[in-house]
C-alpha cells in the first residue's frame, strides 16, 4: 500500500515535471540535483496554481518569479550564486499545495521557498513551511484569516491586507468638508474573505466618522443576476456605493446600477477596475470609478522602474499586479538573504532570515515594506480613478497622477 502510494506520487511528480519542462525548460526530475550541495546555485521551491481555478493569476505570479530570477542572475546572483526556481503545479488544490511544499522542502531539499497564489492555497502552504521552520514570504494571501493562524514565519509581500485596501480613500473622504462629504453609503460585497474584507474595512471607518450605512448586501460568489441588488441600492439613493468585489460581479453590478439610472456621487469597487478587460466590458461609462490597487507600473520607486523595463523586455508588455507581487516576494527574500548572508535550509539560517524581516524595512517595487508580528504589511494601497478615460492614481497625494474627483460624472 505504501509502495503504491509512493509510486503514484512519483508518477504525479514525473507528469507535473514533464508538463513543466516544456514551459520552464528545467525540471529537477532527479531530485538530488536540487539539494543545496551544488554550492554554485540557490534553489527556490514554489508551488503555483498553473491549472485549475486560479490558473490565470497563477501564471502571472509565475512570470513575476521568473522575471525576478532572471534579473537577479543577470546582476550577479544572490550571495554570488545563481538562483534557480523549482516550480510545481498544485492545480489550484489546497491538498496538492501542501504536499508540493512537503516535497520541495523534504525530498528536493530546496534552499528557500516562495509562497503560492490565493488565500486558500497560502494558508495550507504556510503551515508546511512553518512545520519545517522555513521563512515564508507570499504574494497573494491578503485576507485577514491568513494572519490569525498564528504563523511566525509568514510575511505578505504587498502594501496592505484586504481590510486596509480602502484606507487612503477613507482618509480622503473623512477629511472632506462636512458640507461636501457623503452622508450615506451603500455596500455590496461578495461572500468571500478577501472581497468582504476590502468593503468592510472602509465601512468601519466611514461609520465611525458618522457616514450612515443605508444598504449592506452580501451575495454568494455564484450570483449572476445583479439587477435586484442594484434596485435595492438605487432605492436608498446612497451618496457613495462601495463594492467588495472580484471581476464579474463588479461589472454586472455596475451595469445593473447604470441601467437603473442611479447616479451616486462616488463609486468604488475593488479588483475589477484595474483589470484590462474592465473598460472593454463597461465601455465609455467608467469615468470617476474608484479602485484600490497594490501596484502600478507608473509608480516612481527606483526599484519599480528597473522592474518595468526588465519585465517589458522579457515578456513584451508591462507587468500587472500579480507579476509585481511575485517580484516583490523575490525582493523581500533577497533583502533578508543579503542582510543575513545565508540561504540554506538549516534551522539557524531560516530563523535568522525570519528574525531579520521582523524588524526590517525593505525597498520594493510597491514602495518600502515593513510588517507587524503576524506578517501584515504596514503600508497602504494606492487609490486609482478613471479620469478622462484613463486609470490614474489619485491617492496618496505624493504619488498622484491626477486629482481625486469627489463628484463622479454621470455614468
Amino acid at each position: 500500500m505504501i509502495r503504491n502510494r509512493t509510486s503514484r506520487r512519483g508518477a504525479f511528480a514525473a507528469t507535473a515535471c514533464l508538463a513543466l519542462a516544456t514551459t520552464l525548460g528545467a525540471c529537477g526530475l532527479g531530485s538530488d540535483t536540487a539539494s543545496g550541495e551544488g554550492d554554485d546555485e540557490i534553489v527556490i521551491g514554489v508551488s503555483l496554481p498553473l491549472t485549475g481555478d486560479f490558473s490565470e493569476p497563477g501564471k502571472g505570479v509565475q512570470r513575476g518569479y521568473e522575471a525576478w530570477a532572471a534579473y537577479v542572475n543577470e546582476n550577479g546572483g544572490l550571495l554570488g550564486k545563481q538562483v534557480r526556481l523549482e516550480i510545481l503545479d498544485d492545480q489550484s488544490s489546497a491538498d496538492r499545495v501542501a504536499s508540493d511544499y512537503e516535497k520541495l522542502i523534504n525530498q528536493d531539499g530546496v534552499d528557500l521557498v516562495f509562497g503560492p497564489f490565493s488565500t486558500r492555497l497560502v494558508v495550507p502552504a504556510a503551515q508546511v513551511a512553518e512545520d519545517y521552520g522555513f521563512l515564508f514570504v507570499e504574494p497573494a494571501g491578503a485576507a485577514e484569516e491568513v494572519f490569525t493562524q498564528g504563523f511566525e514565519n509568514l510575511f505578505y509581500a504587498a502594501p496592505a491586507i484586504a481590510d486596509d485596501h480602502y484606507n487612503l480613500l477613507a482618509e480622503a473622504i473623512i477629511a472632506m468638508p462636512e458640507s461636501e462629504r457623503p452622508e450615506t453609503a451603500a455596500y455590496a460585497t461578495m461572500d468571500d474573505p478577501f472581497a468582504q474584507g476590502t468593503a468592510y474595512g472602509l465601512k468601519g471607518k466611514l461609520e465611525a466618522a458618522g457616514i450612515k450605512t443605508v444598504a449592506d448586501e452580501v451575495y454568494p460568489p455564484n450570483t449572476t443576476d445583479f439587477s435586484s441588488i442594484a434596485a435595492k441600492i438605487a432605492d436608498t439613493k446612497a451618496d457613495i456605493v462601495v463594492g467588495g468585489t472580484q471581476y464579474q460581479d463588479a461589472v454586472n453590478l455596475i451595469v445593473a446600477l447604470q441601467q437603473l439610472d442611479f447616479q451616486p456621487e462616488m463609486a468604488a469597487f475593488s479588483t475589477a477596475p484595474t483589470n484590462p478587460e474592465f473598460p472593454k466590458a463597461i465601455g465609455s461609462k467608467t469615468e470617476g470609478i474608484l479602485s484600490p490597487t497594490g501596484y502600478t507600473p507608473e509608480a516612481s520607486y527606483p526599484e519599480n522602474q528597473a522592474f518595468v523595463e526588465f519585465y517589458t523586455d522579457m515578456f513584451g508588455n508591462p507587468p500587472s499586479e500579480d507579476e509585481a507581487n511575485a517580484w516583490t516576494t523575490g525582493e523581500v527574500v533577497a533583502a533578508a538573504v543579503e542582510a543575513v548572508g545565508c540561504a540554506d535550509p538549516s534551522q539557524e539560517c531560516q530563523q535568522q532570515l525570519i528574525d531579520h524581516l521582523r524588524d526590517a524595512t525593505v525597498d520594493t517595487v510597491v514602495g518600502p515594506l515593513s510588517w507587524d508580528a503576524q506578517g501584515r504589511p504596514e503600508s497602504a494601497h494606492l487609490i486609482q480613478q478613471y479620469v478622462d478615460g484613463e486609470i490614474r492614481i489619485v491617492l496618496p497625494e505624493d504619488q498622484a497622477e491626477a486629482e481625486l474627483i469627489t463628484v463622479k460624472p454621470a455614468w
Partner: protein, 294 residues
C-alpha cells in the same frame, strides 16, 4: 420598503422570469420527447453566448444577427447529437445514462471554450448596454427588454410549431405515445432528432439573450443548470407552458424575496420549490398527465 422599489423589483422579476422560461424551454422539450436529462443544455447556452460575443467583437455587428447562423447550426448539432449519440443508449437506462453522456458533453464544451477563448471573463459591450426606459418611476433596461422579447417570440413560435404544424402534431404524438405514433406512420426516430434539434435551437436564442446582459466565462453553465432543472421539475417535466409558468413564478418570487431576505436566501427559492414539488406533487404543478408517465 418603498412602493417604487416594489414596482421595480416586480418588473425585474417579470423580465427575469421570461429569460428563465426561454432558457428552460429546451430542457423540458428533451425530457418530453425522449426522457433525456440534458445536463449540457446550459453549456450550449454559454456556447451560443460566446459565439454572439465573438461575432460582435469580430464584425462589430449587433450580436442578435448571429442568431441567423447559430439557430440553424444548433438545430443541426442537436439533430446529429440525438441520432449519433443519444439514440444509441439503451431505453431501459436511457434517463440515467443520458445524464452521464450529456455531462461529458458539457465538460467538452467548457474545456473547448476555455481553450479557444481562455478563462477570461467577457461581456458584450453595446451602445445600449446601460440604456433604460422609464415607466412609472421604474427603469426597464433595454437589453433586458430585448431578451424578454426574444423569449416571447421564441416561446410563441415554439407553441405555434407544436400546435399548428404537421411536424408539431407528429412531435406531440411522439411525446404522448411513441408506439401509437409509429403505427400511424410517424417516423418517431427522425421526429425525436428534430425535437432535440428544436430544443438546442432554443438554446441558441437563449444564450444570445443571456449574452446581452451577462458577463460570461466557460464554467458559467454550472450556475445555470440547477435553477433550470428546478424550473422544469416544478413546471412538470415535458410541459413547455408548465416550464414557462414555473419560470415566471420563480423569477418574480426570487426578485421580490430579494428585498426582505437578501441574495443568498432569495436564490434558495428554486430549491425550496423543487423539494416542495417533489414532496407534494412529484409530477410537477403544470405538467398534467404527460409528466405522470415518467
Amino acid at each position: 420598503m418603498s412602493g417604487s422599489l416594489l414596482l421595480q423589483s416586480l418588473i425585474l422579476g417579470v423580465l427575469l422570469g421570461g429569460l428563465y422560461a426561454l432558457l428552460a424551454a429546451g430542457l423540458t422539450l428533451y425530457f418530453g420527447v425522449m426522457r433525456v436529462v440534458m445536463i449540457a443544455h446550459s453549456a450550449f447556452l454559454i456556447l451560443a453566448a460566446y459565439l454572439a460575443w465573438w461575432f460582435q467583437g469580430e464584425t462589430g455587428i449587433d450580436p442578435l444577427v448571429s442568431l441567423l447562423v447559430t439557430v440553424p447550426l444548433f438545430f443541426v448539432i442537436g439533430y446529429v447529437m440525438q441520432r449519433l449519440l443519444l439514440s444509441r443508449l439503451r431505453p431501459a437506462s436511457l434517463t440515467m445514462m443520458s445524464v452521464l453522456l450529456t455531462f461529458a458533453i458539457a465538460l467538452v464544451i467548457e474545456g473547448g471554450l476555455g481553450y479557444v477563448f481562455s478563462g477570461t471573463q467577457r461581456r458584450i459591450q453595446l451602445d445600449y448596454s446601460s440604456s433604460s426606459i422609464e415607466v412609472l418611476g421604474a427603469n426597464i433596461a433595454v437589453v433586458k427588454l430585448i431578451a424578454f422579447a426574444l423569449a416571447g417570440v421564441a416561446l410563441v413560435g415554439l407553441w405555434a410549431l407544436m400546435k399548428l404544424t404537421r411536424f408539431g402534431q407528429a412531435l406531440r404524438a411522439t411525446i404522448q405515445h411513441p408506439e401509437a405514433a409509429r403505427l400511424l406512420g410517424v417516423n418517431t426516430d427522425r421526429i425525436a432528432g428534430f425535437g432535440f434539434g428544436l430544443g438546442l435551437a432554443t438554446a441558441a436564442i437563449g444564450g444570445t439573450a443571456l449574452s446581452l446582459d451577462s458577463t460570461i466565462y466557460p464554467s458559467l453553465h454550472w450556475h445555470w443548470i440547477g435553477p433550470l432543472m428546478a424550473i422544469i421539475v416544478v413546471g412538470g417535466l415535458g410541459s413547455i407552458p408548465g416550464a414557462a409558468i414555473a419560470a415566471m413564478v420563480l423569477g418574480i418570487s426570487q426578485s421580490l424575496l430579494q428585498i426582505p431576505l437578501g441574495t443568498t436566501w432569495a436564490q434558495t427559492v428554486f430549491y425550496v420549490a423543487l423539494f416542495a414539488t417533489l414532496m407534494v406533487r412529484p409530477q410537477g404543478f403544470f405538467g398534467g398527465r404527460l409528466a405522470q408517465r415518467f
